[in-house]
Subunit: 382 residues, 2 copies
């Protein structure tokens, strides 16, 4: 395809497109699904963070109450996932890494299959990124992502086909189309970005978790600019970019920029971000479309806080073979985008993005419901 001409607004960003548009998400190996908003004008995402799955029924739980220990295993993680899917009926499920806990996993492929089984069985499209533990078994990071993309109903990709060079495995984006029959039928009204936040630093002078690299940030910015251009072009040109949501595993250093007064949820442990700031937060602010970031990694933190126009959210620990806090329920996050009605009464673009969490208790108690963004307030903040 020929290289598209940039509108002046995009030239301001000083980014031009160096690659042809990505193929539609409609073309997927196992699940020919294009994500779209439902007839109810809603798109609901279930975020599952840190399943830490190992070998199934023989894998014990960590940090549960004494009376829970004997009957608790990875199967509790599976059961929780099944219940969440039944209760929320999401349109899409995102697994934000540490899907398996490699150190205790005898066979990575088998463990991945079991971990994702409830999602696969639900026939709901799903996607996954890597944490820092997924590769600690029989498959490398590349091997884990390659295995994942072969599973049923997933929209995951190993890496974007449009760039030759990128760090990590599991960098890709997905578009969520407007309601069929509406003006937005063929536009992506909600953009989902997935990145590999790596595992551990391989740089001798920097000790700790890895970080999102310039190659990934450059791809993200080019992709964001391309999506923005498409959204602002005919037919039905829009004035600003469609909102975006970003998913990866390790929290950014900016997750530390909150005190108790300005977040919703709990902060019960250290923010285990990389020891260096690699600038991805700045890259997102500059791109301008991302309204919220969803990570995992710190099982005892489950907050959302707003900083410089972007909500920084944890999923909260989900898996039972993962450190946690006895008596403090495992949990999952739900993210819902709702469309506005146009003057003609049809479904339009995204009006608001909300979130809440559900606890793995008897009633799957819903907590911490909050609005992350709404269109009318031009960013929902400041």
């Amino acid at each position: 395809m020929s290289m598209p001409v940039l509108s002046p607004l995009f030239l301001i960003l000083l980014f031009s497109l160096t690659f042809p548009p990505t193929k539609s998400t409609a073309v997927q190996r196992n699940h020919p699904v294009r994500l779209t908003f439902g007839k109810d004008g809603e798109f609901k995402i279930l975020q599952v963070a840190d399943m830490h799955y190992a070998n199934g029924k023989d894998t014990p739980c960590e940090d549960v109450l004494p009376q829970q220990i004997s009957s608790c295993s990875d199967l509790n993680t599976t059961a929780f996932l099944r219940r969440m899917i039944l209760a929320e009926k999401p349109d899409f499920i995102v697994f934000t890494g540490d899907n398996i806990f490699g150190f205790d996993t005898a066979d990575a492929a088998k463990s991945l299959n079991a971990a994702f089984a409830p999602a696969i069985a639900s026939n709901i499209p799903w996607a996954a990124v890597l944490g820092n533990h997924d590769q600690q078994s029989t498959l490398s990071r590349k091997g884990v992502m390659k295995h994942i993309i072969g599973l049923k109903n997933t929209l995951s990709k190993v890496n974007p086909s449009e760039v030759k060079t990128i760090d990590g495995f599991g960098n890709y984006n997905l578009e969520v189309g407007g309601v069929k029959g509406s003006d937005f039928e063929n536009k992506s009204v909600l953009n989902l970005y997935f990145l590999d936040s790596g595992d551990y630093s391989t740089v001798p002078r920097i000790v700790g978790y890895s970080w999102i690299k310039p190659s990934q940030q450059f791809w993200f910015q080019l992709t964001s600019a391309k999506l923005k251009r498409a959204y602002m072009e005919k037919p039905f040109p829009q004035k600003t970019a469609a909102p975006g949501l970003t998913f990866f595993h390790i929290p950014l250093p900016e997750f530390s920029n909150f005190d108790a007064s300005n977040y919703t949820g709990v902060r019960q442990e250290e923010i285990s971000s990389p020891p260096v700031n690699s600038g991805f937060f700045t890259a997102m602010v500059e791109a301008g479309d991302v309204k919220a970031v969803f990570t995992g990694h710190d099982h005892l933190n489950d907050f959302c806080g707003l900083f410089t126009g972007i909500n920084l959210c944890y999923g909260g620990g989900f898996g039972y073979h993962a450190y946690g806090k006895a008596g403090w329920s495992r949990r999952a996050r739900v993210v819902v985008a709702n469309l506005e009605r146009t003057a003609k009464g049809n479904w339009g673009s995204v009006k608001s993005i909300r979130t809440w969490k559900r606890l793995d208790d008897k009633h799957l108690t819903r907590i911490d419901s909050q609005v992350l963004w709404n269109k009318s307030s031009l960013g929902g903040d400041l």
Copy 2:
């Protein structure tokens, strides 16, 4: 040209080359010079920061002593540059931005010509990057860089030819070859990187100076990896990358990581870095070859401090039509790399990198001499 195969060491960095090697610096429009170490095994760079040149003899000086005011103008900046060139006889001159002070400049081209005139007249090769004031007259940032590359003896480039998309103007690299007749004759033993650190943020939520973007960092990392590979390849394969030096205008946030105990020089004013961390320091640490960074921008800071293996150095204010401190001399930085002798008695690779400053006083007093790096200590730090 075909894409080179990466050695395993480079695959660790997860970067592969997406562009053919750059043309030799031997092919330059006005000055067919390839930078090389001299027969004395030395390569000396003069850094000139913040000339702030305007219209010449009618442009007054700022912050000089009362008795200096009447006779002081841009010509004092010119005279200082001439004296520095005569005194140090550098092999290369680098201008690290705010070469002209655009707001007070009637004709940008004329002002640039006058500002660089002593360098041009010296027949010494030189290069320049942009500051935040260079474009505030009759030429845009692109226009200023395009004008600069047309001047005699410069090795400046508007942008690297090997990438299609990069932020800013004045991102390029230069190689410094070993001594003619030595094993390193056809290797770059010292790598010089030049980046455009921008002017002011155009992102509504971020107010302040601009920053080095992912596109520039990605180019830098690919270039660093390419140079490292060439250096470690036959003939005369080396065990590590050649040392690198980076030049741009606005100091990084990491320049704030020093207290009086761990830098050489003075810190007399706030570090005017961008309000966000865009990760370029991390990108340099990851690349592994850069031993020192040279910026300008803060005229009253002239220190060098070592952080995570990289020296962060200011040039110190040079120009007279720039804020300064009356009675505190304008100054310039000198950077000298020296080669080691091989077992056979020939000149080898870079052994050490030293720096000092000279004051614009009667004797061009030399101060703050220090070693930035030496090979034997594997980085000269920690």
